[in-house]
């Protein structure tokens, strides 16, 4: 999995691409979020547009990222879910947990 991040109006947008799976993407995602929190960056938007696959470990890592950020009084939202990822969050009932704004602009505005 590849990760890059950028800042827009105080919000960190993390662009992820590839697979978030056991031992691969999961570790990268965990380290990325941990590093952001260590820097005090607590408004995080995960852009999943280029994420092609998530397994149960990857789902767990998204949940863990969400709870870690919330536990530090921050907020983490998801953006640009593919149909596959959307369906996965639906069947695991996590679509009710994560906020998934319609657009990047709306997401940044809601996190500012």
């Amino acid at each position: 999995m590849k990760v890059s991040s950028r800042q827009v109006d105080g919000v960190v947008i993390v662009d992820l691409s590839g697979r978030i799976t056991l031992g691969e993407g999961s570790v990268v995602l965990r380290d990325t979020v941990r590093e952001l929190l260590n820097k005090g960056q607590k408004k995080i938007l995960l852009n999943l547009a280029e994420v092609t696959y998530i397994d149960s470990s990857g789902i767990g890592e998204l949940v863990s990222a969400y709870t870690s950020v919330r536990n530090q009084s921050g907020d983490l939202k998801l953006l640009n879910l593919t149909k596959k990822v959307h369906d996965l969050l639906q069947i695991t009932k996590l679509y009710t947990v994560f906020d998934v704004p319609e657009s990047e602009a709306a997401a940044v505005a809601s996190l500012k």
Binding site: L22, G23, D55, S56, G60, V63, T67, I91, T92, K93
Partner: protein, 148 residues
Amino acid sequence: MTADRVSYTLESTLESVNWAERMAERFAAQSGLEDDDLQEFAMAVREATINAVLHGNAYDRHKTVQVTFARESGTLEVTVRDQGKGFDVASVPDPLAPENLLKQSGRGIFLIRTYMDDVRFRNLSPGTEMVLVKRVRGKAAGKEKEQS
């Protein structure tokens, strides 16, 4: 891999999980599954292999995982066996329960059950056997027939 039954003995490693997933994709494609059905089949096999490697054998390189793909009329069956301590499937918490929604783990078996038509567990003492059954429907059923 064109046989109606093929079995692999794998090390308890992450590479084995990825490999089993690729074999599942190939087997599903040869059996006529397409698109969502193919991806769901492969994901269920991946999750079952994760269960065996991680929770069953706990990455112990002295223990192996056996994955068997079998094709019978109208049905694809995958058997995944580990050599771990075994577990009581009834004790696995419901990942959809509100109190479990934010837990990091515990969704693998739920996903397998969602994507397969039937899932059976057997205690091997030691080890666990998981049998995943996918019924082949529609256009795929015709292709599966041509394969046999």
